[in-house]
Structure formats: structure tokens, C-alpha cells
């Protein structure tokens, strides 16, 4: 009875203390999203009319039949999945190497994080040059190695341009993942590996039965961050390919940008934002759910 009261009062205090933060979050997140949703129910195109006209779910229906929207959706999904997969693979490899002790490890670790620290626009510009068909280093290397004889127009072919963009993205964000995973690796006591070795395990078995399960929280967090980020990729693609050739690398955020800023179609742009947002929320929710499950199974 008494305990109940105390608990209630503590809960109340807790709510009161979190209230300011909640209000702020509401203001910063909920308001713009609500506003976007409201806007998405109107036809509001500054290019053709000045007054917004209420049009219900029209914008959403339009989306279903908008081939360009589905194409950008597909591009974004391919870009996100392939790059996150490669980043995870490479990041894990680098983290495993950096977790070994070798002379100069500190310096190598610092260098490894550099790509992550570079401004995306700059590094995208550099990669655009690397993949340039006339002057690019990449073509030059391939030619010197005798692997190709004529220059390849990397950014001019649909699937090659996608590969180039993914390569740049992977180069930039692999360090982020490897640092995250390295932190996880360092929290695994060495004795677990020693005990496992005495149990008769080889390093490969130890990786699957000790490292991977104990690293699952970090892997999921990395996935969470990277999925959300890669799905909204904008500056990298804009600078490298501008969404071309022929929309082959156009991502959802580029499309929304064009819809709002170039075609001035605010209503439809808002509808696109709402749908992308909901998709992202769903993805994040799934990963968070997996994360809490992984945590529970660990402790």
C-alpha cells in the first residue's frame, strides 16, 4: 500500500522530469511531420496554382501509379542493401584486424577513421574524378594492369554508375562500422577465447560461436544507423551522378528534392516524404526489436 504510493509518486516525478524533453521532441519532430502529412492531403503546386486545394488521398493514389517513384524506390533499396552489406563485411574484417595487437596499431586506427571524417560533398567530388572516363585514376589503373583496353564510362552507364556510387559510399562509411564493431570486440574478454580454444575450438569456430553472438548488439546498431542513413542518401549521389544517367542512380531523396524544389509540387512532395518516413520507421522498429531480443539473449 505504502510502497504503491511511493512508486506512483516516483513515476509522476519521472514523467515531470522527462516532460520538457518530450515537449521539445514533439516540437522538433512531431510538428514538421504532422505538417508534412497535412500538406500531403492538398494539391499545392506553386508552378501551376497559388492556392492549395484539398484533395484527400489523391497524392497517395498518384504515387501508386508513379513509375518514377517506384524506380527511385528500387534504386534506393539496391543502393542501401548492397552498400550496407559490403560495409558490414569489410568493417568486420577491418575491426578484426585492428583488434589484433601489432606495431603501429594506434596510427592505423586513426588513419582508418579518416574517410568517415571527410565532408561527403568533397569526397564525392573526388570519387567522381576517380571514376571519370577520360582522366580518372580507376580507368588508368585498369588499363595499366591490362584488364581493359578502352576507357569505361563508369558514371555514364546505368549499372556502372550505381556501382561507382556504392563504392564511394562503402569507402566512406566502412570506418564507422569498423570502429563501432571494434568497440564491441574489445569488450569481449580474451579468456572466453582461451576457454573456447581449450574446449577444442579453432579460430573459425570461435568466430561463429563467441565473436558473432557477442557482437550482435553492435552489428544491429550499425545496421540501424546505416540503414536509416543510406536510405536517405542525397549529397553523395547528387555530387557524383546527379541521379543520372537517365535516373539510374536517382534515389528517393533526390526525387523528393526535385519534386519540391524544381517542380514546386509541395503537396505531392509532402506525400512522398510521409511514405518514405513511414517505411524508415518500420525498418527501424524491426531492427530495434531484433536488438532488444539480442540484448535479452545475451544477459
Amino acid at each position: 500500500m505504502q510502497l504503491d504510493k511511493i512508486q506512483k509518486r516516483e513515476q509522476l516525478t519521472g514523467w515531470m522530469l522527462t516532460l520538457p524533453a518530450l515537449l521539445l521532441l514533439l516540437l522538433v519532430f512531431a510538428y514538421p511531420i504532422g505538417q508534412a502529412f497535412w500538406l500531403s492531403l492538398f494539391t499545392k503546386n506553386l508552378a501551376t496554382q497559388l492556392q492549395p486545394v484539398y484533395s484527400g488521398w489523391n497524392n497517395y493514389v498518384r504515387m501508386v501509379f508513379d513509375g518514377r517513384f517506384w524506380e527511385t524506390m528500387q534504386n534506393t533499396t539496391i543502393f542501401t542493401c548492397v552498400s550496407v552489406f559490403l560495409e558490414l563485411l569489410l568493417g568486420m574484417g577491418i575491426a578484426l584486424v585492428l583488434n589484433q595487437s601489432f606495431p603501429g596499431r594506434g596510427i592505423v586506427r586513426t588513419i582508418a577513421i579518416l574517410p568517415w571524417a571527410l565532408p561527403t560533398a568533397l569526397m564525392a567530388l573526388a570519387w567522381a574524378w576517380i571514376f571519370n572516363d577520360q582522366y580518372g585514376v580507376w580507368n588508368d589503373i585498369l588499363q595499366r594492369l591490362g584488364l581493359i583496353h578502352t576507357e569505361i564510362n563508369w558514371l555514364g552507364e546505368p549499372s556502372l554508375a550505381m556501382m561507382a556510387a556504392i563504392a564511394a559510399e562503402v569507402w566512406k562509411t566502412t570506418p564507422f562500422i569498423s570502429i563501432l564493431l571494434l568497440a564491441g570486440l574489445q569488450s569481449i574478454p580474451v579468456e572466453l577465447y582461451e576457454a573456447h580454444a581449450l574446449d577444442g575450438a579453432n579460430p573459425w569456430q570461435s568466430f561463429w560461436r563467441i565473436t558473432l553472438p557477442l557482437l550482435m548488439p553492435q552489428i544491429l546498431i550499425a545496421l540501424l544507423f546505416r540503414f536509416a542513413q543510406a536510405f536517405g542518401v542525397f549529397d553523395l549521389v547528387l555530387v557524383m551522378t546527379g541521379g543520372g544517367p537517365a535516373g539510374a542512380t536517382e534515389t528517393v531523396s533526390l526525387y523528393i528534392y526535385a519534386m519540391v524544389m524544381r517542380y514546386l509540387d509541395f503537396g505531392y512532395g509532402a506525400a512522398l516524404i510521409v511514405v518514405t518516413f513511414l517505411l524508415l520507421v518500420a525498418a527501424v522498429a524491426i531492427v530495434s526489436f531484433l536488438l532488444s531480443k539480442a540484448r535479452n539473449s545475451k544477459f
Partner: protein, 354 residues
């Protein structure tokens, strides 16, 4: 079943860090050997060399007829209990215990049978589905033991397995350990810095210091016949009284009092050792008596520990452990050093002379 033998084992990390200098010893089947020594003397390193977690710089390790020096840890068939227990945090108790059996591809049925057996033996039946984080310290320790026992290995290694338990629990588990390993006909190497553990558990104690084996004997003999000054001072609590004395007329002089030296030739200097419990209040007929002034009395409950300044040598303090019932009337006491309990060591090398 097979015995374990270390031959001239050496581990050199750098010219300054040589935790194991030259250790040779043999542990027979069913023998419980304790590596005893102060912190940093190379006990864990020796154990890790046996386990194959470190490669020796020199020397060999034999298990029975097999030279295992160059074998991987997993191929030596050795089980080890770590000081931190090293339980796999993401596996249940049952999975922890079964890990080594799964890695050796035993049948599901046999694994279940063996895990159940060992869990029952250690009173873990109720806990098999828990994660290590849901266990108390004592329970975790037992899971670590179960993980070692289920293997039926050729050699058991234990690195200070009781040091993370509270004092009461430690005493109980110590007794359990003794019974548990009595039933195994396997060499056991047990590392500790706690002499009580060493004394109560072992059939043999190896005292290590500075990377070298100081003495390898049954615990009782280590206590009654320490091989050198270090062992004498390290084993026994309260510590043995040790005096560097000058000799004259076939006797070592403790202050004003001559103590006969039982050696054919008496060196100019000698180290005399006597445990506090072998110093008693003197009766009229006693020999080997000294006199001194009590300046400190510490009560240990059953006994009193007296610190006495020896007459004629005020810088020497002899400590005597007397039953609490014994009374003395004066600050000045007459004590006798029980003649058969005297230890004599070389003043230069510290080796036992008699």
C-alpha cells in the same frame, strides 16, 4: 589416464621479464599439485604454458607418453578453470557445459547424458537453463567446474578458482573441491597464493618464487622442513621467526643466550628459524631458553601472539604463539625454543642446513 611432466620449462617475455625460469616437475595420476607463491611469481604463466595458451621459450611438456609442447590447446585434452571463470555469457548453463562436447561432435544423446550427470553432481540441475548473469558467484564457480569435469580430460588446471568467493563460501567450496577431485584419477594442477588452500587441498605443493621451483613436497613436509629461507618465511601464519645470528663456541647467539648448532662445522654466521607456535613459556628443566621483555600482546581468540624483545639484542623481536589460557606474571618472560623445531639456514644462500 596419464601423468603430467614439465621438463626445464622456461618462458621469457623479454630479458627483464622471465616469469618462468627453469621448472621441472611431475604430477602423477590422482595427484593434486598446488603451485604456491606470492603474486607475480609466475604461477599463472606456468599454468598457461601447460594449457598451451602460451608457448614456452624452452623446455617440454609431456602428458603420459605424448609430448604436447607443440600441440594446440584444444588437442591437449586439458580442462582449465579460469580465475574469472570465463563462462560464455550468451549461452545457458547447459550450453556452457556442453560446449566442449559439441565441438567434438559427440552424439546429442551422449551430450545430454553427460551434462545431466555433471550438473546433478554439482547441484546445478535447477539452473541449467539460466544465463551466467543470472547466477550467484558460487553458482558460476560451480558451472566453471562442471565445464571442466564434463570433459573427462587428461589433466585439470585451476587458476585461483576460489579467489572471487567470499570467505565463508570459500571454505565450503574448498572442502567440496577436495572431495570432487579425490574421485578423479587425473593429475590436477592448482594455482593459489593462499597457503591454507595449498595445505588443505594438495597432495603435493610446489612453492614458486622468482620463476624457480623452491620446494616440491607434501604440504606437511613443506611446513616442517622448509627447503630454504624463502619457503620458511612464506609458508605458515603467523610467520616463522628468522634471525641472522653470529656463531661462537658451537652455538648461535640470540642476544645473551647460546643456542647449540647441530652441525659438525659451525659457520661464522647462520640463520635460525623457529615458528611462533614452537616457542613456549619455559619450565625449570628446559634447555634452549631465552629471556626477554614483552612489548606487544595480540589476541587471536584461541591464542595470544606475544612480541618479545630479546635480552642482549634489543633489535631482535621473537614472536611466540601461546594458548590463551596460559598466564604470565611479569613483563619479563622466560621462553624455550623447542629444540626439535629449530630450522637452520645458510646465511648466504638461504638453503636449509639442518
Amino acid at each position: 589416464m596419464a601423468n603430467l611432466e614439465l621438463r626445464n620449462l622456461n618462458k621469457t617475455y623479454s630479458s627483464k621479464v622471465v616469469p618462468v625460469k627453469d621448472i621441472s616437475l611431475k604430477v602423477d595420476e590422482g595427484e593434486f599439485l598446488t603451485l604456491l607463491g606470492p603474486s607475480g611469481c609466475g604461477k599463472s604463466t606456468t599454468l598457461r604454458l601447460i594449457a598451451g595458451l602460451e608457448q614456452p621459450t624452452r623446455g617440454q611438456i609431456w602428458i603420459g607418453e605424448r609430448n604436447v609442447t607443440d600441440l594446440r590447446s584444444g588437442d591437449r585434452n586439458i580442462a582449465m578453470v579460469f580465475q574469472s571463470y570465463a563462462l560464455y555469457p550468451h549461452m545457458t548453463v547447459a550450453e556452457n557445459i556442453a560446449s566442449s562436447l559439441k565441438l567434438r561432435h559427440l552424439s546429442k544423446l551422449e551430450i545430454r547424458q553427460r551434462v545431466t550427470d555433471v550438473a546433478t553432481k554439482l547441484g546445478l540441475e535447477e539452473l541449467t537453463q539460466r544465463k551466467p548473469s543470472q547466477l550467484s558467484g558460487g553458482q558460476r564457480q560451480r558451472v566453471a567446474l562442471a565445464r571442466a569435469l564434463v570433459r573427462q580430460p587428461d589433466v585439470f588446471l585451476l587458476d585461483e578458482p576460489l579467489s572471487n568467493l567470499d570467505a565463508l563460501l570459500r571454505e565450503r567450496v574448498r572442502a567440496e573441491l577436495k572431495q570432487l577431485f579425490k574421485a578423479q584419477n587425473t593429475p590436477v594442477v592448482y594455482v593459489t597464493h593462499d597457503q591454507t588452500e595449498a595445505m588443505t587441498l594438495s597432495s603435493k605443493v610446489a612453492v614458486l618464487y622468482n620463476g624457480n621451483l623452491q620446494q616440491l613436497d607434501p604440504p606437511q613436509r613443506i611446513y616442517t622442513h622448509p627447503a630454504n629461507r624463502f619457503v620458511a618465511s612464506f609458508v605458515g601464519s603467523p610467520q616463522m621467526n628468522l634471525f641472522v645470528l653470529s656463531c661462537r663456541d658451537n652455538a648461535a647467539w640470540l642476544g645473551n643466550f647460546p643456542i647449540p648448532v647441530p652441525l659438525p662445522t659451525v659457520p661464522p654466521q647462520i640463520v635460525l628459524g623457529i615458528r611462533p607456535e614452537n616457542v613456549c613459556l619455559a619450565r625449570a628443566e628446559d634447555t634452549h631458553t631465552i629471556q626477554g621483555q614483552i612489548y606487544l600482546v595480540e589476541s587471536l581468540g584461541m591464542q595470544n601472539l606475544l612480541s618479545v624483545r630479546v635480552q642482549g639484542a634489543p633489535e631482535l623481536t621473537i614472536r611466540a604463539l601461546l594458548p590463551a589460557a596460559w598466564q604470565w606474571s611479569d613483563d619479563i618472560v622466560k621462553l624455550t625454543l623447542s629444540p626439535q623445531s629449530l630450522h637452520w639456514f645458510d646465511a648466504a644462500t638461504g638453503d636449509r642446513l639442518f
